[in-house]
Symmetry: none
Subunit: 204 residues, 4 copies
Amino acid sequence: MTSARRTSQSKEKSNGKYEAILRAAIKVFARGGFFNSKVADVARAAGVADGTVYLYFKNKDDILVSIFNHVMDEALARGRARLAEIEDPVEKLKRIVHAHLERFAGDRDLAVVFQVELRSSTKFMEQFSATKVTEYLELIRIVIDEGQAKGVFRSGLNTTITAKVLFGALDEMVTNWVLSRRRYSLVSTADTVIDVFFNGINRP
Amino acid sequence: MTSARRTSQSKEKSNGKYEAILRAAIKVFARGGFFNSKVADVARAAGVADGTVYLYFKNKDDILVSIFNHVMDEALARGRARLAEIEDPVEKLKRIVHAHLERFAGDRDLAVVFQVELRSSTKFMEQFSATKVTEYLELIRIVIDEGQAKGVFRSGLNTTITAKVLFGALDEMVTNWVLSRRRYSLVSTADTVIDVFFNGINRP
Amino acid sequence: MTSARRTSQSKEKSNGKYEAILRAAIKVFARGGFFNSKVADVARAAGVADGTVYLYFKNKDDILVSIFNHVMDEALARGRARLAEIEDPVEKLKRIVHAHLERFAGDRDLAVVFQVELRSSTKFMEQFSATKVTEYLELIRIVIDEGQAKGVFRSGLNTTITAKVLFGALDEMVTNWVLSRRRYSLVSTADTVIDVFFNGINRP
Amino acid sequence: MTSARRTSQSKEKSNGKYEAILRAAIKVFARGGFFNSKVADVARAAGVADGTVYLYFKNKDDILVSIFNHVMDEALARGRARLAEIEDPVEKLKRIVHAHLERFAGDRDLAVVFQVELRSSTKFMEQFSATKVTEYLELIRIVIDEGQAKGVFRSGLNTTITAKVLFGALDEMVTNWVLSRRRYSLVSTADTVIDVFFNGINRP
DNA sequence: AATGAATGAGGGTTCATTCAT
DNA sequence: TATGAATGAACCCTCATTCAT
């Protein structure tokens, strides 16, 4: 948790104002863009006074950062828990692909914030890359390593780069879906992504 | 070309002020971020007065958009020309991968602008996706289609999504390289990307 | 007493919270300045909750005003009592000079508040001048009048202005001492002040 | 000159906007108080846009500081020039007293700013005391020293403190005049101040 | 009496853009 | 074409004050 000034206990409840502001911010930022959105907009959407936002967040930037951290922490925790229940590396990667696409397919506003607003500047980007994104990439890489060790995946591939290939593919699926004027099923792209990643495009 | 108030001819000469401002903007935006950079910064870096910028560009946004269009037009034109000289779809895709990575590896500031600053808002993103990026994805898709027709690539793959997989992978390579504190060779990631994309990660 | 919402009795007891807040305010205002100090700072320094301050003072201004009134009432009362024990106008003035300088020398924070923070605006200044300061100037003037009547001081001097001369001199001693980076004895300036005021600077 | 961002030549003219803002600020600050006055008020009074103020002054504080420096520089320069034409230390001091009182008597708004607004906080006060005021006190002290050397003034008096006595008396005359509801001649207090300072109040 | 979470009004400052020269 | 002084709209954040508990 990066958010500011929250004493561990007192604010955690508070009628759930912290969560309310976060949810409101996702909606407001997604619809209007981070830079164009005013803190007052977020406050109004959350049903609190302008000043109240600053009881839970250090400043406007902190709201955006908190969205990222909040969602990533949750996703990583849940992801790790589920992966622990799976043995087969192939199944693990399929699980990751589906979880990634399903998460965003189920919350378009969140997808917009993640794919667009959070890339707003190197200030944010560097902060994220340096931590959670790296963690996420590691998660993937380790599964690939496992697969190589078990002989399911061929060896000889640089697994760090390979992990980025998969992440990049997923990221592009979501970005494209978010920006496309056409409305199609994001999750339905999973099969092709998985097929290409596992088997390549060459004729066998 | 989206930039304003310029007669198509005057642009090329004009003491090269148009190009000078564009180059200055790439540097300034890359170092300081688009939103934090002032038009005055760009003007100073280009060695012109503030007002002069508005003789070549409609507004601040137009500078950013023009960078994108300028570079993409050039890249697409050159790309198409080179691909026309190649027969083999496999070689064509390899050519695309290398061209993509080499272009950004050779101009880090440009890479920052493309990977970070241009993602600043849905306003920009939608604009780009709807045009040049779609064009770029089409370029890739058509090569894959060709490959399938020639029997080099297996059929059954949705080529639109497959094209996005490759683009996403390339995009992630560049983004990661731009944001990484470590300095490594961007182009050296090409082999793994190509290998995974053509052959997949499964053991044959 | 100008402070609000307190029944005249409750103030004296109340666990001494009234006095505690006043003392805390002197320290806080002296260190940080009145305008930069927050009511919350005063509350914390006094060991009470923010809201509690408003049980003893009408608003932030009232705290500052109350400091002034509290200290002046005390000083005037004690001053009058002591002067009543003295006959000689010369001795009386010397007593005033020493009392003035000693009071502030013994409480630097109070001196800062009186010499700097209380001059913050015409709103305060006019309020004070119209009342306690005028009273203080009167006190001095009357002693000078007495001295003239007794033939100790020469007549012909406008005693209202003369009283201001002495007060101005004392005020400057304190202000200078408060603002000076050098740390010297404030009280030690008394002799010169008295000497000049009584005898002038001309060679006899 | 402490004011900001003014390139030595270009702004010195500028339709006299610098001077216009300064004059407007004296009026606005005197009438409404520094803290209550908005930069927009000053801009409107000066007949310029809000932003223009920031072309000539670093920030709101800088306006106040510039008033002080501007006036003091002028006063010190003119004061020194005139004193240079006078031989007699007695006449020199009389000249200082009259100049001091006349300057403020002729510009009540300026007097309010100097006697009230500029004392607003230790931040300002310390800045001023440390420089121009000290210079002013030195000016007086040196004249007194001269007088002692010439045998016009009695020796044995600490001239640093004695200078503060005179300055304090003058300062109090102006403050009292500014804050008094009664409207009387400030300059008419000069005679008594001079008489007391030179001859004391004791009967000869 | 005491608390402290919540309120919301208010303003200094920046900077994209214009336009007289 | 080119300049750069002038403009003025726009907004984040602070903090005095309130009030339900």
